[in-house]
Amino acid sequence: MIALEKRPEPSKLWSWATPILAVIATMIAGGLMFAALGKDPVESIRTIFWDPIFGEFAFYYRGQLLIKAGPLILIAIGLSLGFRAGIWNIGAEGQYIIGAICGAAVGLAFYPWDSFIVFPLMILAGALGGFLWAMIPGILRVKFNTNEILVSLLLVYVAEFILASMALGALKNPDGAGFPGSRNFRSYPAAYNEEIITGTGMHWGVVAAFIAVIFAYVLLARHLMGFQIKLAGQAPRAARFGGVNPSRLILFCLGISGALAGLAGLFEVSGPAGQISIDFNVGYGFTAIIVAFLGRLHPIGILLAGLLLALTYIGGEAAQSSLGLPAAAIQAFQGMLLFFLLAVDVLTNFRIRFGKREVA
């Protein structure tokens, strides 16, 4: 029989090796899944993971990589702080939507004022919107001890209905001939989140994501707040003894992750998406959960994991058009990745021992 034996210390080697192992295992299992769908597994995996970077149309896809990775990384960095502290904000999708709505509303309110101040104001409004939306579960948790997992998640549905109402009502393009959706920011340069270097996909949201990575790295490695976040997650009683104020930490973690998700939403709606529409959100808020875990809640890891998951989005689209792989297959594939990661993670903290079974 196989028995698990707790390691005296978590293994450094395995904590780096497990994400790689998980990716490989997912490629194999994913290949089998694609084979079951009647697609050539090797071809599918190559289309998803290789072609977008090195294939024929890489010049187009490479730019897409940063566009998709930007919001994923930005959101995941925020989530990772909370996850480390044992504060589970899983409603980033909602904060993303509300941030986008608030930011877009500010931009649209100034239309057609052509001033350099418009875009910064939109950024502020986007961050503020996400922040405030995340404060709802935060304050309910602190004041009434309400489970933040459920509240933040349920608020995603509420946010989606607000989005629908905005796209069909308050923010609808007055010159849009009655079609749902807001004015397109592409035709309003002062509010448009333009590509900074043409063809790279680098826009202000990607810059913000890189800044967030650096900020989180410094926070966790050097700052007392980062220490308290780790402490609260690992040993809540020790954290209180160490002087950590749990309420403040909850509000801090939810606030930061909400603001970053809101920013991601604003950058998306004012750039790649272009407008507020009923379904401009494509689930980055949920995929970012996978990014955060795959990156082992470490800023650098999240940077890499964000790029990888962005690749699966792009490769998935490519496989959809060239191989007819269903879009949902990629979603299942991403979920599978998280499963495998959690499964192999056991190796970090436990040694597997073969032999006689302990009486359990």
Binding site: I149, L150, L153, L154, F161, I289, A332, G335
Partner: protein, 310 residues
């Protein structure tokens, strides 16, 4: 606006229908949580159950086979969660989320060729004489069989937890897994069984949505029902009949807002549609603010990882 178009009889009868998937999923999750496990993958198991049930019912023409397939599908999916959390000792919150994300993807993949089809009808039981009683008859005695199965499940769950040794062991494992282990109970085995039961119930709940309530298959059709079921377990303070009450409350709000939409009330549709979620949040807040009480009823080891070290 014509509120008189809303018939109280129909409203209550459809309330029972609207509440049924939530009752199923929440009762399953109640058992899981009583054993000390927090499975946040209810939404994923429900939607996989919805498509499994739908596909098999369509292929075989038998809703009964559909429901059986849904329960099996939900249970199998839940055992992935069980294996990861109980054997490989992974974090329950993260694994539950993974289950939901995976379930949503898997179900839309499986369901591609089933969009826009009507499933075979699940018959109503129409109990003779009783269903003819005015008002009460159509509400209580003219429903499909799953509604009655669900009510029986709630009563059964209550009785098993309260009166049987199996229920006592389940509660003991959830309350203090180290003590249960020291007394020689198989903590992991008990929990795996509870998890599979929870998965089967969630699967049934999902199939009820796709086969009876809606009835058709659309991607992401559970629309948060799994999360609401999780909230209702908290609202119900881990007691079967209070879970039932919570689900009826939720069902009532859902049906009422749908009726108000149909009656053309001057509130925008989106705001009516979000009301069930808002009310669920409000109810969660009310329940959790009475701190000490809630703490007493939550299983002592809920969400904690068990590793028998000796």
């Amino acid at each position: 606006m014509d509120l008189s178009a809303i018939s109280p009889t129909l409203l209550l009868a459809s309330l029972m229908v609207a509440a049924t998937p939530i009752i199923l999923a929440a009762t399953g999750e109640l058992i899981v949580e009583k054993s000390g496990v927090l499975n946040l993958g209810v939404e994923g198991m429900m939607i996989v159950g919805a498509i499994c049930g739908f596909a098999i019912a369509v292929e075989s023409g038998s809703p009964t086979l559909g429901f059986i397939a849904a329960a099996t599908g939900g249970a199998l999916l839940s055992l992935i969660f069980g294996f990861l959390t109980q054997v490989l000792l992974s974090n329950q919150v993260a694994t539950g989320l993974a289950l939901t994300l995976f379930g949503l993807g898997l179900s839309s993949m499986l369901g591609q060729s089933y969009v826009g089809i009507r499933p075979p009808a699940t018959e109503k039981l129409d109990i003779p004489f009783l269903s003819d009683i005015p008002f009460i008859g159509p509400i209580l005695f003219n429903q499909d069989i799953i509604v009655y199965v669900t009510l029986a499940l709630v009563i059964g769950t209550w009785a098993v937890l309260k009166f049987t040794r199996a229920g006592l062991i389940l509660r003991a494992v959830g309350e203090n897994h180290d003590a249960a282990h020291a007394l020689g109970y198989k903590v992991v085995r008990v929990r795996l069984m509870a998890i599979a039961f929870g998965g089967a119930c969630a699967g049934l709940g999902g199939a009820y949505l796709s086969l009876v309530r809606v009835p058709q298959w659309t991607e992401g059709m559970t629309a948060g029902a799994g999360w609401i079921a999780l909230a209702i377990v908290v609202f119900g303070a881990w007691r079967p009949f209070r879970v039932l009450l919570g689900a009826y409350l939720f069902g009532g709000v859902t049906v009422l807002q749908l009726n108000l939409q149909a009656a053309g009330v001057a509130i925008p549709v989106e705001y009516l549609s979000m009301s069930p979620y808002l009310i669920t949040i409000a109810v969660l807040v009310i329940m959790s603010s009475g701190k000490a009480k809630a703490a007493l009823s939550a299983p002592g080891c809920l969400g904690r990882i068990f590793h028998a070290s000796s």
